[in-house]
Assembly symmetry: C2
Homo-oligomer: 386 residues x 2
């Protein structure tokens, strides 16, 4: 397969934004193209991650809408959807398109505009990422599904409410340093534990927020990268896997098989082990999800993922910082944007351009993007250098 590199990255500030998804997406695209030093006429294909533009704002068929607003030519425009992993899937389609030889310069973006809907409506829209018949139709929203998962993880492995809360404290401390984060506020362990219960044992501060935002990257073949950007980033692996969508169809809800499989394939393709990774952005839609991701990827043994935040290993300054950007938890989680924003964050870190939350000297990073309650997972491994 032809190798692929990242030569441009752009993220809009996440938060409550007045713009439409089309405008947010176009803003990220323009920033990424500017970072790559290319005009829209250089882009040969466009992939967009978006989960629910139709439900949130009545606009389906978003890929050509965003492309047109960003000034692209009449190039192929494709939306990829895999719930909260939509951005990761768009990234993977971009990588495959270049690897196939069909195109050279590809723009990949992700976007979601969520804050226009009422809270109850938003919960219902998000529930469409699970199995409608067996979950959403009987009111099992995502906090409820992850509460079942968390409770089982606590039962099996002795994971505690404090273990989970420390993930929130850590990621908010990181997000406090990220000027683009939705929630730039530090929080304490006591505040997390005392926050409003949502679905026991998950409290409000265990949940990622409802955010608007967009992110984009410019990709090109590895052999072209050094000519186009002074600090290109290599895509060492792009892996994806799936699992049974409904919790009731999984044999073990304390692990996401899609994460295990995608991570295993990513490490195999990159010729690496978990210990070769310098930093990671993982899908912490709820605090328990970060703990499980650390285990399923292979950074910790099963049941020991809580150690990461408790012992400081996954904090900025620790052995392997996780979600230095603030993660979904504090940076925000505009669903379709998240997977692409993770790629942007890792790329900027590996370039040394991450700003106040920079991880010094990072050379290899991993991005983990999960859809639904684990039905879809995308894992990418990136490295600095041409």
């Amino acid at each position: 397969m032809r190798s692929v590199s990242i030569i441009g990255a752009g993220i809009t500030p996440f938060g409550v934004r007045p713009e439409s998804a089309v405008r947010l997406g176009a803003e990220a695209c323009r920033t990424a193209m500017e970072d790559a030093g290319i005009g829209p006429d250089r882009v040969e294909a466009f992939f967009l991650g978006n989960f629910a533009g139709h439900a949130f704002m009545g606009q389906n068929h978003l890929a050509p809408m965003v492309a047109h607003a960003a000034g692209l030519g009449p190039v192929p425009c494709t939306r990829a959807e895999g719930a909260c992993a939509s951005g990761g899937l768009a990234m993977r389609q971009g990588v495959l398109a270049i690897a196939s030889g069909a195109v050279d310069v590809v723009l990949v973006a992700g976007v979601e505009k969520m804050t226009g809907a009422a809270t109850g409506e938003t919960a219902q829209i998000l529930a469409a990422a699970g199995d409608y018949e067996s979950e959403a139709s009987i009111g099992a929203t995502f906090p409820a599904l992850f509460a079942l998962i968390a409770r089982r993880h606590m039962h099996e492995y002795g994971t505690t409410r404090e273990d989970m809360a420390r993930v929130a404290v850590k990621n908010h401390a990181h997000g406090y340093l990220n000027p683009g984060a939705h929630l730039q506020i530090k929080i304490t362990l006591e505040e997390v534990l005392g926050s409003r219960p949502v679905a026991d044992p998950i409290c409000l501060l265990d949940c990622s927020p409802i955010s608007d935002g967009a992110a984009a990257v410019v990709l090109c073949p590895g052999e072209m990268a050094a000519d186009l950007h002074p600090k290109p980033i290599r895509v060492l692996a792009s892996a994806q896997a799936s699992d049974a969508p409904a919790l009731s169809d999984k044999s073990d809800i304390t692990r996401f098989q899609s994460t295990c499989r995608a991570a295993e394939e990513a490490f195999r393709r990159a010729g690496m082990q978990p210990e070769d990774i310098d930093l990671a952005e993982v899908h912490d839609c709820f605090t328990i999800a970060e703990i499980m991701a650390l285990e399923d990827i292979g950074f910790y043994r099963k049941g020991e993922g809580g150690r990461g935040a408790c012992e400081g290993e996954t904090a900025l300054g620790g052995a392997m910082p996780v979600n230095a950007s603030g993660g979904l938890k504090a940076k925000g989680h505009p669903v379709g944007a998240t997977g692409v924003a993770q790629i942007c964050e890792i790329a900027l870190q590996l370039r040394g351009d991450a700003g106040p939350h920079q991880v010094p000297g990072a050379e290899v990073g991993l991005a983990h993007n999960l859809g639904g309650s684990g039905a879809t997972c995308a894992v990418h491994i990136l490295a600095s250098g041409a």
Copy 2:
């Protein structure tokens, strides 16, 4: 680029179906895998075309749902969405995935379950394929948009109501021979012209119906095809292009630039001309759309597309049959399924397995799938032989 072949095809009967989109999709997948003589364990990646499962039935994240119901393993499952071209885009992602070398055996499906919604609701859901701000939000549904297009085509080129009506008569005559078609009824010129006005000059019988259905194909690298199926079909070209989504942003609404560009690229990649095509399935969501497709693809000069049906050239038994299956007009138009069903139809025709609507001796076929009012277009050229 690595060549790709089709080794299995399956279409569910189109019409009013009681099953969910998940079950319809799984049914088509099983039929296609059976036709290919492979079990679900051979499939390495899955791509699904779907337009609005979320709006029609509350279920987003459909790709892993359908894959799980069809018995696939934990393989990458990706939904592609490009309005009514969603199926064509899923097909193209499948082709790119194999061409990249990442996978060998790929299952591509398309599905839509539409008949559960009320008529007004359906019109609103479909309108989300256009530009929401400038079209859908002010009530410009798709019959209205294509009425503007038809009126301009009549004004510029002298196209008549009768030219359009003859497309409906021809495609219903074809659909009458297709046991899987939604509308297996012959209609007369007088019936079309006298049918209820929907948006002048478009009448009820100028419109494709609201249908449920699914279709699937199994793809593999060209070099593997002969070992897996006695009559493999080669994908000579897979091309895609886009155009400004809103009618008000197009310089000429009598042609779809996305079709012109995708067709031009497809012919270039296949090393062919329009006259090399033996039969075509084109996107006749409205009768005027078939006339424009014939012109934009290059089968007729601009303004002369109406000749095809009037002079019998595009009828079964004519020089180049168009929509021998009945097309969207009579076979039905379950939006996300349509692009994949077109590929199935062409593949079955080239194998000589199309049944009562077989085009004798066809060796090269073209499938044209349009999204929205031309914002997206996918064109595939297929040929018989390993």
